[in-house]
């Protein structure tokens, strides 16, 4: 294997690993802001226990997210040196802005959020929690701006081999950015909601930490009921935006090789054959393709035939990742809908089959995020900067052996980290909130009792 393929695999692997943790911390960050606000308002011990428990999960995910993000910020240079040489004038400042507006904010107040309960007044603590959550959102803003710019580049000109910026507003708010940002932020909410709901469902099923489980379940399903349907809407808008700017990607998502006579069907399942330029074994719904993409029954859909073979994305990967993402998205809507119905019937903790489904769904939000990321990034191929810089022209000229060795080490190291993270997380769930998670005045009372007895 050459350095290009190895660098691509290594980057895909390291970013795929990394993306899981910001997904959790962005979603949980907002979750914690709501919880702590409720705690300050109602002084309900059950809410406090939830808050402290999920803060521990947040801290665990944040730690892994920080270190794996640090790796990425340097990999741009080590593995993609020519890419940064060409695009550095554009993307460098965006990433720097992420550091100065987001990373420092998160890091500066994370310490207070985690360790500052007895060192700062409650309002300052709440402010810290808010600032950490805002930091994760600002970070998302910049990184998705940079990523979107690679998909829909704007506001720059070529100066020899290098790009120079002509309009910063056009760079930051490039055409696909608002849709991509909304899609990602809602995705973090959906993924987090189903993780929390799954944990709550598990606790109720096993009859452990029942109060904590019931509250987590109810809270998370409330969030899911808003976020899951919203995501369908946002995803559709994002898809239309992609249709406008990256038709080849949409053609790959839909599996349309050649123009259809009349209205396009929606291809449910197929085995795309890149070499032959067609699908094998297609199952299609007539008219639906035109309806979904053009919101009319007769609109024309983009085809891969319009794209030169060497400029086509890997169709099978994009096609299947897209189906996985959409399928999961619809599943989340169904589950959230059942949740609403169960709540109306006061049966949220009664229907064991539903709780089992929720427990099984706990990790699937993250699978959907990964699938969505594959759709968008594999769909951009063979370009790094869509239409301007090919992936093959962006790689560093480093020995393939160096990349291979470090890739092997990444697989090993991240494998250990993921296993450890999951083990810790599962153990935390099994233990549930402990005595240390009782509200401060409870703990003081307990201590006072001990002193009196002694």
């Amino acid at each position: 294997m050459d350095a290009l393929l190895l660098s691509r695999l290594q980057f895909a692997f390291t970013i795929g690993f990394h993306i899981l943790f910001p997904t959790l911390t962005i979603g949980l960050g907002l979750f914690l802001v709501v919880l702590e606000g409720l705690w300050l308002k109602r002084r309900d011990p059950g809410i406090y226990r939830m808050l402290r428990f999920w803060t521990r999960v947040f801290a665990l995910a944040f730690g892994v997210g920080v270190v794996s993000g640090l790796v990425l910020s340097y990999q741009l240079g080590t593995n993609w040196g020519r890419f940064t040489a060409v695009t550095g004038n554009v993307l460098g400042p965006l990433i720097s802005y992420e550091v100065v507006t987001a990373f420092f904010l998160e890091a500066g107040f994370l310490g207070i959020m985690l360790f500052g309960w007895n060192r700062v007044p409650p309002k300052i603590h709440y402010l810290s929690t808010i600032l950490v959550a805002v930091g994760t959102l600002i970070s998302t803003f910049w990184i998705l701006s940079a990523n979107s710019w690679m998909h829909t580049p704007a506001g720059f000109a070529m100066d020899g081999e290098r790009m120079v910026v002509t309009d910063w507003m056009a760079v930051v708010f490039n055409p696909s950015f608002p849709y991509r940002l909304a899609h990602m932020v809602v995705a973090t909410l959906v993924a987090t909601a189903f993780l929390v709901a799954g944990v709550g469902a598990w606790c109720v099923l096993r009859d452990r930490h029942r109060d904590f489980g019931r509250r987590s379940l109810s809270f998370a399903l409330g969030m899911a009921a808003v976020a899951a349907p919203l995501q369908v809407l946002v995803g559709d808008l994002h898809g239309l935006n992609t249709l406008e700017h990256q038709p080849a990607k949409v053609a790959a998502m839909e599996g349309h090789w050649n123009a259809h006579d009349g209205p396009a069907p929606f291809i449910l399942f197929a085995l795309p054959d890149q070499a032959a330029g067609r699908n094998r074994a297609e199952i299609a719904i007539p008219y639906a393709g035109s309806l979904i993409l053009t919101h009319s029954l007769s609109g024309a859909v983009p085809t891969l035939a319009a794209v030169a073979p060497q400029d086509r994305p890997p169709v099978a990967v994009v096609f299947w990742a897209f189906r996985l993402m959409v399928g999961l998205g619809l599943w989340f809507v169904v589950l959230a809908g059942i949740g609403l119905y169960a709540r109306r019937r006061y049966a949220l903790t009664q229907w064991r089959w539903y709780l089992r489904l929720l427990a099984g769904t706990a990790p699937l939000g993250f699978v959907a995020v990964l699938a969505g990321w594959v759709v968008t990034e594999a769909g951009r191929q063979p370009w790094l900067v869509y239409g301007h810089l090919r992936t093959a022209d962006g790689v560093s000229l480093v020995p393939a052996e160096s990349v291979a060795v470090t890739f092997g080490l990444f697989i090993l190291a991240y494998g250990v980290l993921l296993a450890a993270f999951l083990a810790f997380f599962l153990r935390m769930v099994a233990r549930g909130p402990g005595d240390a998670d009782d509200p401060p005045h409870f703990q003081n009372k307990a201590k006072a009792a001990v002193v009196e007895e002694g």
Binding site: T55, V66, L76, G77, T78, G81, G92, S96, I112, V165
Partner: protein
């Protein structure tokens, strides 16, 4: 008014890197000192002195890398492929020690593996940073290519030389000294005593390394020798080594008398003066003897766009970083609540 943007940006990056070296330096040093005690409680205390702040400390490293990319993309895209392996080694070290902060406290009673990860990660990352510094001072073999960029022409292990090994070991000692003097300040009892005695030995080791690098660098690079020893630079620059010597003497005295805060301050002063010495030697290169900061600079539009934000935000960042340190001031003792 014409701003010399590359000059301003090199000052900002120099500040960022220095903040990183000072701040992550002491928390990496705490990790390097882990084997000095086997007592789990003492290790908890050591870790708790840095747990609330390490993440902010490490952010300065990302600032350094991102600002280099933002303001000097040509230097970034030339240096990082050339220094591929030591950068990766550093990252692996930082990954393992970083997760150890959270993971360690989740393994009640069975800290062994995450203790090892914390120590080894800190050690490896520190050594790699020192080696990177050495390799940077020595310069990287690159050639100009058609598109105006640079291509690394050396091998994967060119960075590994006796000089870079020495700077690597030197920085490990330096960080350990920062860590030890930090612990002298922030702990008490047996742990503080242990840190005091470790600091004494480390001070001597660090002074030896500083002396060797100070002589080796000009000896190996005539232009650098010229800069330091030519008249009148010899007189103008003399305050740097003299002040370093003074700081070292105060440091040793403070350690002998058991002063609590002075050793850390003096160690920081030593770092600052060594850093200033390096800056004198390397000025004005972004990649030594290949490109100056003006060659490497991104266009004024990019540098200005970024500067507007940084000029406003850097003081704010420093302010809340200071606030966060104040919240966690005071001696850290066993049983100090973890979240």
């Amino acid at each position: 008014m014409d701003l010399d943007l590359p000059l301003i940006w090199s000052a900002i990056i120099a500040l960022g890197v220095f903040m990183y070296v000072l701040l992550d330096g002491f928390d990496l040093g705490v990790g390097i000192l882990f084997p000095f005690t086997r007592d789990a409680g003492e290790r908890d205390v050591m870790m708790n002195t840095v747990a609330p702040v390490w993440d902010g400390n490490e952010t300065w490293l990302i600032l350094g890398g991102a600002s280099l990319l933002g303001a000097f993309p040509l230097a970034y895209s030339t240096l990082l492929p050339a220094l591929y392996l030591p950068v990766m080694v550093m990252l692996f070290g930082l990954v393992f020690r970083g997760v150890a902060f959270e993971f360690r406290f989740k393994t009640a009673g069975r800290h062994l593996w995450w203790d090892r990860a914390f120590f080894t990660g800190s050690l490896v990352a520190s050594f790699a940073q020192g080696a990177l510094l050495g390799a940077f001072i020595q310069g990287v073999a690159v050639e100009r290519v058609a598109d105006g960029g640079y291509r690394y022409t050396g091998g994967a292990f060119d960075w590994l030389t006796p000089f870079s090994v020495m700077t690597g070991v030197g920085l490990v000692c330096g960080y350990a000294l920062l860590g030890a003097t930090w612990l002298v300040w922030r702990t008490d009892g047996a742990l503080q005593q242990r840190a005091l005695s470790a600091a004494r030995g480390l001070t001597l080791a660090v002074l030896a390394f500083v002396a060797v690098v100070s002589l080796w660098t000009p000896w190996a690079n005539p232009p650098i020798a010229q800069r330091w020893f030519a008249w009148p630079n010899l007189v103008l620059l003399a305050p740097i080594p003299l002040a370093a010597l003074a700081a070292a003497l105060v440091l040793l005295r403070a350690l002998a008398r058991g002063w609590e805060r002075m050793p850390f301050l003096m160690t920081m002063a030593l770092f600052l003066l060594s850093y200033a010495g390096l800056a004198v030697s390397l000025w004005p290169f972004a990649v030594p003897r290949v490109m100056t900061i003006w060659d490497a600079a991104s266009p004024p539009e990019s540098q200005m766009f970024l500067l507007a934000g940084v000029a406003v935000l850097l003081p704010v960042i420093l302010a809340y970083t200071f606030y966060s340190y104040r919240v966690f001031r005071g001696k850290v003792r066993a049983g100090a609540g973890y979240h």
